[in-house]
Symmetry: C2
Subunit: 330 residues, 2 copies
């Protein structure tokens, strides 16, 4: 089976660009970037979400699904340091689901999140499907001209940060896979984990703050997991990185599932779908912004190095090579 990366590269090479390219940035970043007018660039992303690959109807609700379909694309917009503006959805639904209130409830969840970020649904398509739900979520945003934050701008010596806490969405998935067997004494924290999986929060405000203040040299959203997404930044920037295991902010709610640091750090490193932001900052810039970073609870987790595509994990002052480990969503 080909990886998504190989696939995208294959398409990229096929695209022979018959005319001067429209795109400032095309395939291979969180969003494509296109010139809009003299002051503004348009960024745009599309995310395909498929039943029994990306979600199970028995584990979620239509409202959560509507929320998440929009949230995953908003997260790509956040990763460019852009503000979301408009959206479209293509939705395919089996006939039996049409007869239920699924569509209304899906859009309840969708519009609740869309209103929070002033995103206008401007179009879409609808189709029947033989038996599974599929949703393609398209969101466009805007940045000042030339100011979209790409994956490719990291330099050796830049510091590596993440927003929020990691591994919670994967912890929630583990609970869902086990049939919601909440431990009674841990129920509240375990429900938090499940909500991290079902109702992720796109980090629009943090992305906007970082781009408005020109703080991030490179940025990506954490959809595959810290390990895999840092690899995307390193590949695009032609750098390596080292991560300090003890600095990685694992989701405190994971304490309700695991006792060992190893298990929690494994989820924080390789658990996907946290939809936090991973970004790199020139150390001088960081010292200027340190207070604001603390206020926003950004965590310094590592440093960009010159060892191309080599990612080291440092723990107890010992260094090991971090192997690529795609997280199987399920």
């Amino acid at each position: 089976m080909q990886s998504e990366f190989e696939f995208i590269n294959k398409i990229k090479n096929k695209s022979r660009k018959p005319q001067p390219s429209q795109a400032v940035v095309g395939i291979g970043d969180d969003c494509a970037v296109l010139p809009k007018n003299a002051k503004t660039d348009l960024v745009i992303t599309t995310d395909l979400i498929v039943e029994d690959i990306d979600f199970r109807t028995e584990w979620t609700t239509p409202e959560f699904l509507g929320h998440k379909a929009l949230a995953v694309s908003l997260s790509d917009i956040a990763a460019m340091g852009a503000k979301p503006v408009w959206s479209m959805t293509s939705i395919g639904i089996p006939q039996a689901i049409w007869k239920t209130d699924f569509v209304e409830r899906f859009y309840e969840g969708y519009f609740r999140l869309a209103e929070k970020y002033n995103v206008e649904l401007i179009g879409g398509d609808v189709s029947k499907t033989p038996d599974k739900i599929v949703i393609d979520s398209i969101v466009a945003g805007e940045t000042k001209k030339g100011k979209a934050v790409l994956r490719s701008g990291a330099k050796a010596g830049d510091l590596i940060f993440v927003t929020g806490e990691l591994g919670g969405a994967a912890g929630g998935l583990k609970l869902l896979e086990s049939g919601f067997n909440f431990n009674p004494s841990e129920e509240a924290r375990q429900k938090n984990l499940v909500l991290r999986q079902l109702q992720p929060s796109p980090q629009i405000s943090s992305g906007d703050f970082l781009s408005a203040n020109k703080l991030a040299t490179a940025m990506i959203d954490l959809s595959d997991g810290l390990s895999g997404d840092l690899r995307h930044i390193c590949r695009a920037s032609n750098t390596g990185a080292k991560l300090f295991a003890e600095k990685i902010p694992f989701d405190k709610n994971l304490n309700s599932l695991f006792e060992s640091f190893e298990e929690k750090i494994e989820f924080a490193l390789n658990g996907g779908e946290d939809f936090e932001l991973l970004f790199t900052v020139n150390p001088k810039k960081y010292f200027q912004a340190q207070n604001e970073f603390e206020k926003r609870r950004f965590s310094l987790v590592g440093e960009i190095t010159a060892n191309v595509e080599m990612i080291e994990l440092i723990r107890d002052e010992k260094s090991g090579i971090l192997q690529p480990k795609g997280f199987r969503h399920f």
Copy 2:
């Protein structure tokens, strides 16, 4: 089962537009229209194509599928009188298909058509699916500011035209459904019908001509069929229409399938997926452009009336009411 129209209206009403609307035109036309800069509007469309609903792998090839996925969205761009500029695709593929050359061949067909119209693929997504192929095709185009041709501009007295010949794609589908049982003496014409179904031609040049010369008051592409798509124009324009059966240009290749005029006109009226253009023109404008219309083989098929949402079909000087008849693609 809800119709697509009810569904779209439901969404439209849910969209509470939390801020001054970004869109000049939102849900309900062939494309959404958004301001790009002082001189240009962006038009954008998305089309979801699902295996065993919109196509069968045993009836088509990956190259035809790549062509058609792009063509259906290009046809929406043509219907706005716009020029296509860039595209994205989200594609979901079962694991077994990944292992074949499906993806390469799909994009061979896709890029062959994209190059013809200088459309740049700028992004996309890829996902596994449990068992069916799904493709979401997104295309953006540009028009001069305020010049996108909408469905809503038809006025009583306007003349109704179509490009090309109608019913061929439905004839091709009939042949595919019958297991390609080509009549030996009719094989060439029957293959033409099948190609109308599998490899449609978006009418970009005609759409651009009509909009550049401000000739069309309303326009739509023929995806549902003349009867249904004319109904969309009448509903959006708050008009009615009359069609002259004898004037409807049915696909001459249908002569290889049917002898009776009734059968051929039925396919021309209700057969979907011809991806020709249906448009309305003020009679004075028509008289100025008549030569060019003849050169381009546009057919005058009827007239817009003031009988709101009433569509008459006139044959042998007798008039009947044309009932809504959605064409089941298959």
